[in-house]
């Protein structure tokens, strides 16, 4: 267990990102801060997915649904006069928790390819639910008139203040998940990933622990969704499209599954790459997909293995 270097790496990410706004100001390129905000939002989402996929070995292909639910919590909250960021986060987490509790309980009765397909299907159900809500813009989604308020101030209207707010939330999520994964609960979750049969043979029933982790991950993802809606000032069903769930998995794998630092790094890298590729060509997905296929094919144990061999990857312990 090489925890210290990982903590230092996480700290380096936080400090490095904290320097983005001043650097952007010095370069006269405020757009850098906007991209960095997006990176941080997806880092939160990737952290949450890592809890279930990395630590819990539950390959959920529907995680973007919870990001989307969080985003809609902003639109729904604003409609009913709830504009406070924290209140919207609470609303999003509540909605996500309810959805995750029901669909997770059904999905977790299954394994392997079933679990992957079912989480994907439930996410699609959520997608269609919001597509059919014409009062929320239906297919097209709905533009927000303003960012959320924070403690009755409109401080978040400043891109820089908003950036640091996201960074603070990311640090909190990282800290919380770091504690959780090293606490009793995290050990049970990791143990279940390593060998569910063994866990049963020492007296655990994996199901309630896995479901709890699933719900926690959904809540954190919805927090990312609340921030995403504010970052784009737009809410749309596209946030929960299945390809978004796929991108979240790609982030994890690029950064290293089962390590919180890796999840964050993967999100930063992926969002960064997408922006770079997108600037080159509108068909950037072609290159991105090709990269993905090649890396998986020509690294015998997947992307993590490739990184491991390059000496920068995570280890599974």
């Amino acid at each position: 267990m090489n925890l210290r270097p990982r903590l230092i790496a996480a700290l380096a990410i936080f400090v490095g990102m904290a320097l983005v706004p001043p650097v952007a100001a010095a370069l006269g390129d405020p757009f850098l801060t906007v991209i960095a905000s997006r990176m941080l939002v997806f880092a939160i989402a990737a952290l949450s997915l890592d809890l279930i996929l990395g630590y819990g070995a539950m390959v959920s292909f529907g995680h973007a649904a919870y990001v989307g639910v969080g985003a809609y919590a902003v639109a729904i909250g604003a409609r009913f006069g709830v504009t406070d960021l924290l209140a919207q986060m609470a609303l999003g987490a509540l909605m996500s928790a309810a959805f995750a509790l029901v669909t997770g309980a059904i999905s977790l009765r299954t394994r392997g390819v079933y679990f992957i397909m079912i989480t994907l299907a439930f996410a699609q159900m959520a997608f269609f639910f919001f597509v059919s809500q014409s009062s929320l813009g239906g297919d097209d989604g709905v533009a927000l008139t303003a960012r959320s308020t924070l403690l009755s101030t409109d401080v978040l209207e400043s891109d820089i203040a908003f950036f640091y707010t996201i960074l603070a939330v990311l640090v909190l999520c990282y800290g919380g998940l770091y504690r959780l994964t090293n606490a009793r609960f995290g050990r049970v979750l990791t143990g279940t990933r390593e060998n569910p049969l063994r866990m049963q043979a020492i007296g655990y029933r994996p199901f309630p622990y896995q479901l709890t982790a699933y719900v926690i991950a959904a809540c954190i993802a919805s927090v990312a969704g609340v921030l995403l809606a504010n970052q784009t000032e737009y809410v749309s069903p596209a946030y929960m499209a299945w390809s978004r769930s796929g991108e979240l998995i790609v982030m994890l794998v690029l950064g290293g599954i089962g390590t919180l630092t890796g999840a964050m790094a993967g999100a930063l890298i992926t969002v960064g790459l997408e922006h770079t590729f997108a600037a080159w060509s509108e068909h950037w997905r072609l290159g991105f997909g090709l990269l993905l296929v090649l890396v998986v094919l020509f690294s015998p144990d997947g992307i993590t293995g490739l990184l491991k061999r390059l000496g920068v990857g995570p280890r599974h312990d």
């Binding site: 390593e194 866990m199 043979a201």
Partner: protein
């Protein structure tokens, strides 16, 4: 004599047309070491799996401490003091030796829905886990990853994990599998110490170990109990010699 700790009545389990456990009845008295021997494919592991709750029998009853446990799952049986080890080592390979054991301690001491306090700071957990490791002689390996242990050490760890659940009845599925020479001797002397304070059901191919350790022996052939008695009785039983021991003396014990 008091009521037996474990009583198996008319247990049956089939896979398709194959009756793997065919009307098995068995009783294990508190404090004894009851060995179950039999040729490969006799259904020994299937029997242990039903006793431990990993497999559900088609019919029959299992009584533990006077109460039926046939419908309880594995976790519930472990909590009542019925632990098992696996023939094919089933550890948590990526976790440390100490973590493997302390998870078993954790399962029976306090809630696992604790999200904040680092488990590494939980002195009570580590202490109990270290005791179990001490008992099997793995204390100096505590911080190694489980996958880095030698095969013999992994077999010792299997035992330590089972012990850490604080069992009253221990089901050991070929604890000596794949070990030889000194590794086997370490494990045999360990079992000798354990049988003084625990009730043990032992499945084993190593006849030397079985006859050295067992208080009673049952012979399982084609899913049925062919004979049951003291080691002396079993050794003398011509049926058993024909069906099983003869083959065993010539062939090498199989993992």
């Amino acid at each position: 004599m008091t009521e037996p700790l474990l009583q198996v009545r008319a247990l049956r389990k089939s896979f398709g047309a194959l009756a793997v456990t065919d009307d098995v009845s068995l009783s294990v008295t508190e404090g004894e070491l009851h060995a179950i021997i039999g040729p490969n494919g006799a259904g020994k592991t299937t029997l242990i799996s039903q006793l431990s709750g990993q497999l559900a029998p088609d019919s029959g009853t299992i009584l533990y401490d006077g109460a039926p446990i046939t419908r309880l799952d594995m976790a519930a049986r472990v909590r009542r003091g019925l632990a098992r080890s696996f023939q094919i080592t089933a550890l948590l390979p990526g976790m440390s030796v100490l973590e493997n054991v302390s998870l078993a301690v954790q399962a029976r001491s306090g809630s696992s829905y604790r999200f904040w306090r680092p488990v590494a700071d939980d002195a009570a957990l580590s202490q109990e886990a270290m005791q179990a490791l001490d008992e099997v002689g793995l204390a100096d390996r505590a911080h190694r990853p489980a996958r880095a242990l030698s095969h013999g050490e992994q077999r010792q760890l299997e035992l330590a994990v089972a012990l850490a659940t604080k069992p009253r009845l221990l089901l050991l599925d070929e604890p000596l599998a794949g070990t030889g020479g000194q590794e086997a001797e370490v494990l045999i002397s360990l079992m000798r110490r354990l049988k003084d304070r625990l009730t043990i059901v032992l499945i084993e191919h190593d006849m030397g170990a079985v006859f050295a350790l067992a208080d009673r022996v049952s012979v399982l052939v084609y899913g049925q109990i062919a004979a049951s008695g003291t080691p002396g009785d079993i050794r003398a039983d011509p049926k058993v010699r024909a069906a099983y021991l003869g083959e065993e003396e010539e062939g090498t014990p199989d993992a």
